[in-house]
Structure formats: structure tokens, C-alpha cells
Symmetry: none
Subunit: 152 residues, 2 copies
Amino acid sequence: MASKEQRHRAIQEIISVESVSTQAELVDRLRGKGYDVTQATVSRDINELRLVRVPLGRGKHKYALAQLELTEDVMDELGRIFQTFVHDVDRGENLVVLKTTDGHATGIAFLIDRLRRDDIVGTLAGEDTIMVVGRTVAEAKRLQEEFEDLLA
Amino acid sequence: MASKEQRHRAIQEIISVESVSTQAELVDRLRGKGYDVTQATVSRDINELRLVRVPLGRGKHKYALAQLELTEDVMDELGRIFQTFVHDVDRGENLVVLKTTDGHATGIAFLIDRLRRDDIVGTLAGEDTIMVVGRTVAEAKRLQEEFEDLLA
DNA sequence: GGGATATCCGCATGAATATGCTGAATATAC
DNA sequence: GTATATTCAGCATATTCATGCGGATATCCC
């Protein structure tokens, strides 16, 4: 018997390949692949998979994979990680310097990069040090404060 | 008279601050701010703003700003990073092992974690090695293939 | 001004989605 | 084994959302 998990994968595959605009349509596609389910089940699947129905304008819609990283989430995660691995925040002009547990600088720098903030020009990571290059001194100052808040 | 554009701004502000789960609720909030509209209008606004209703599990939902990066993007980025830093992919049962340029394992492992894939139980990173724990051998096998494809 | 055209939005309703309830299947405990 | 709990999914329906239509107001051109 086709498991729920398999069906979930099938759904993700379908919506990432073709453009599905309603659950009824998704039911059709699933039936085509041998998953005989109803709209109710698909609705629950969509909930569990956290899929979103994105409006495309002119009344069109399509289902899409939920964005896994909302900026808030990244900040949340960054918060947790900061408390664990970051020991110190300092700054010289527009350069914010973070001291981390040995070996974790690169990982944290990756995460910071992923924020894609306009006020961050880029990051550079060594073994236990990250340099975050702010666009301006003022922006770096604000950044420093934000980072410090994460530590608190 | 309050313009449509102002109302659009108000909507974006509302949903980014509080958790709005239905259009009716959004109508209430808007009325509280002096925008006297009906659900129909809000529905049209949501379409124009391309807002999505994200399932949060247990039947809860909230409206959110359209998401800019879909999972595909993360995979794209992972692809670029893999080509630069990952040298080898191997596997023993349900453990996929990645060999990376020295010092980059942690960073890449962070990124893999962020995919939050159901088929990945977790990752463990050393200096130049990442172990990705697959949920099953079959899934790990598929993962290995995916990773290898990224290298190609 | 007045007619033509376009935008906006409410109403009513149709379309789409979510869910309470139930029974069946499966896992877990005894 | 049987008993008990949990998961799963269908049905019927409630809830939520989208939209055709028409009226109101605005805009432009003559």
C-alpha cells in the first residue's frame, strides 16, 4: 500500500514540476500516479507539508513549497546559535568582529550571509573570528547592537 | 479617502506584526485602522500583493509576505557551494559522508540542516567531513545521488 | 458639459479549502 | 493471543476565499 510519506513526496514532486492551482487538480495528478485519495486528504497533506497557494495575479494560483527560511526564522536560529557559539562582539568603524567557539566561525558566517541584508557587504571567516563588513559605519553600529542583543 | 495603495501598505504592516489567519480577521484589523472594506476587497488585495496563507500545522494558518526564495534557490546555492568546497560523496548504509575543503564542513552542514528535509535526520560536521544521517538506507541512497549530481 | 472608458468595490454567490466525525487499519501494551 | 491507543482517510459539511455583475466615482478627450 502506498504510504502517506510516499504520497507526500509525490505531491512535492508534482507541484515542483507542474503548475497545480487547486487541490482538485492535485487529486487528479495523484490519481494519475496511482494514489487514490480525496480532496480532504490532500488538504491535510498540504497542511502537513506546509505548502502555500501563491496568487499569480489575474486570478491564477499555484501551489508551491513553503519557503523554509523566512527571515525571522533565520534570525531566530541565529539567536540560538549566537548564544551557543558566539562569545564576543566588537567593532572597528564599519567592521563588526565576532569571536566564536573554535571551528564554528565559517558556519555562522554562512548563516549571516544568508540573511542577505543590504547593510552587510559581506563576511569573512577564519577559525574563531568572523568579520562582518557593514556598508557604512552607522549601519555597522546598528548591526553591532543587533548582534549584542542576540547574545543577551 | 484612503487610497488602495495605503490600504495595501496597511495590510502588509498588519500581517508582518500580528498573526492573521483569515481574511475576515484582516477585515477586522483594517476596520480598526479606519479602512472600511469587505472580505471581497481584501481577497483582491491579497491577490495583488501576492500574499500567501501559510499552514502552521494543527489547522492554524497565517498570512505572510510572498516568499522570495523557494527551496529550489537553496538547492541552487548548495550546488554552487558544493562545486567549490565538496570533493567527495560516499555512503555507508544510511550515512552519507561528504569530504570538504578544510574548515568548511561546519558551514556546509549548517546549510544542509537548513533544508529541513524529512529524509535527513541530522548532520554532524568535523573539520573537513560531514556526516549526513538519512532516515533510511533507501533515502540515504537517493540523497547520495542528489549530492553527487550537485557535484557534476 | 457630456460621453466614453477605466478603476474600485460591495453584494451575492460560486468555488475552493478545512474539519468534525467515523470506521478501518495499524501499532503498542498487557 | 486480546485489549487499548494511535494513525489514517473518507464523507458530509462548515468555513474560507474568489469572482461576475453592477453601481459609484474618477479621468480624459472632444
